[in-house]
């Protein structure tokens, strides 16, 4: 086994091109467990956690770009206004894990239970990939995630970051697990309400082979807000049957399995509960903001 320690992105991409089999390590919160337990013995590892180009975030013309090396701790402290991202980051592991775990690592690992992933997916975001020779491409989340722990990166590529359009409106991330910290999601959910496009987007994690969207539920919620006149008047209430209808449709989009963390039946129930709560929080938040304005 050998470890490559590139000093900059260009060097890292050149080495990745020369050694496409090299396994990237960032915060190590997944890969180190495999190494420690002798589950994996890669011939070659490439350390991407000291690439200054990736340890960054920036706003780009209405978009947010999160460098792959951004840790959860930094996302939480430096981007509190990106509420769903901050809430998801806060729900990851412990301070020790949040200080090491990165957005790029979460994307690369492509676990259906990754906590940053539903935030990307509910923003309809994309993953930015780089290869030697200044080759950069963006891939929609839908093209990137292929299955449990499988993504569509080419072997000579590294993840540069994630990008999405900043939405105006309420948003939240919520998660069900056995305790308040150090927990892998039994189910997680990100809801983004976009006041400009008058759409509701919802992403579900840990209840299918990849993080999923619930398109039928999203259309139902947008129509329910229209029917109630709530897009124009946030104080216009939605009938409880619409909240239930939304929660039911979100749950209907999930395709969970039984595993060590929970049963499929429990996960379907969790999706219903998370969805109902997320929509009612969003509606309450719109009322509160309208009153402030």
């Amino acid at each position: 086994m050998e470890v490559l320690l590139p000093r900059g992105l260009e060097e890292a991409l050149e080495w990745k091109a020369a050694h496409p089999e090299a396994v990237p390590i960032a915060g190590g919160t997944d890969l180190m467990v495999d190494l420690n337990f002798d589950r994996s013995r890669p011939e070659l590892i490439i350390d991407v956690c000291r690439l200054p180009e990736l340890n960054t975030w920036r706003r780009e013309d209405g978009n947010l770009f999160l460098g792959a090396g951004l840790t959860y701790t930094r996302a939480l402290h430096e981007l509190p206004e990106m509420r769903a991202l901050a809430q998801a980051s806060r729900s990851v592991g412990s301070p020790q894990i949040r200080n090491r775990g990165t957005i790029g690592g979460n994307l690369g690992t492509a676990s259906p239970a990754g906590d940053a992933v539903p935030v990307l997916v509910a923003h309809d975001g994309e993953v930015v990939l780089g290869a030697a020779g200044d080759r950069t491409r963006s891939m929609t989340w839908n093209d990137f995630f292929l299955g449990p722990k499988r993504n569509a990166m080419a072997p000579d590529e590294l993840i540069l970051g994630a990008r999405w359009r900043v939405a105006r409106g309420p948003q939240s991330f919520s998660k069900v697990g056995t305790r308040n910290a150090m927990v892998i999601a039994v189910a997680n959910l990100c809801l983004v309400m976009d006041d400009v496009s008058r759409t509701v987007r919802v992403a579900l994690g840990s209840v299918g082979p990849t993080v999923l969207r619930a398109p039928e539920a999203e259309a139902f919620a947008a129509e329910a807000l229209s029917r109630a006149g709530a897009w124009d008047d946030p104080s216009a209430p939605l009938p409880p049957s619409d909240l239930d209808g939304f929660a039911e449709r979100v749950s209907g989009a999930a395709t969970p399995i039984d595993d060590v963390r929970g049963t499929a039946g429990y996960r379907l129930h969790a999706c219903r509960v998370l969805a109902g709560r997320a929509l009612s929080w969003a509606l309450t938040e719109r009322v509160a903001e309208a009153q402030l304005a």
């Binding site: 086994m1 050998e2 470890v3 320690l5 390590i25 915060g27 190590g28 919160t29 180190m32 467990v33 190494l35 420690n36 337990f37 013995r41 590892i45 350390d47 956690c49 000291r50 701790t73 592991g93 412990s94 301070p95 020790q96 894990i97 200080n99 090491r100 308040n180 910290a181 150090m182």
Partner: protein
Amino acid sequence: MLIRVNLNGELREADVWPGASLLFALREDFGLRGSKNACEQGECGSCSVWLDGDLVCACLVLASQAHEREVRTVESLSGTGEEGLHPVQEAFLEAGAVQCGFCTPGLVVAVADLLDHDPSPSEAAVREALSGNLCRCTGYQKIMDAVSVAAERKRGSDW
């Protein structure tokens, strides 16, 4: 592979297996056994150290990732107070926050890190800050007491 680490303020070198964790290197190559090896998956916090000033689990850092970086371990804390103990260590003793003692080094490091960032943490903030440190004797209440003692003492001094 040869790694060079600024370890507790001293430049140290070791020839490590490339797949070794920083925890393994600390204990087996550098002879610092304060950081404990328990879960090896970042769950228990017994191996908490600082990497470039950030609190991390040494079991989840590849030893070579610490090359040319600064690592501080629990051993760096002793020697600052009376009887050679750090105020957080003294607080743990006074509050009786030690049972079997295995989790103690990791907790001491995590508490010192918390008080460096927040000298007057609320109870919720303490619980959050220590959520990655497990005590299987379940001595958490005494540990909470120790944090209060240490925080009070920190506010009244300049450590």
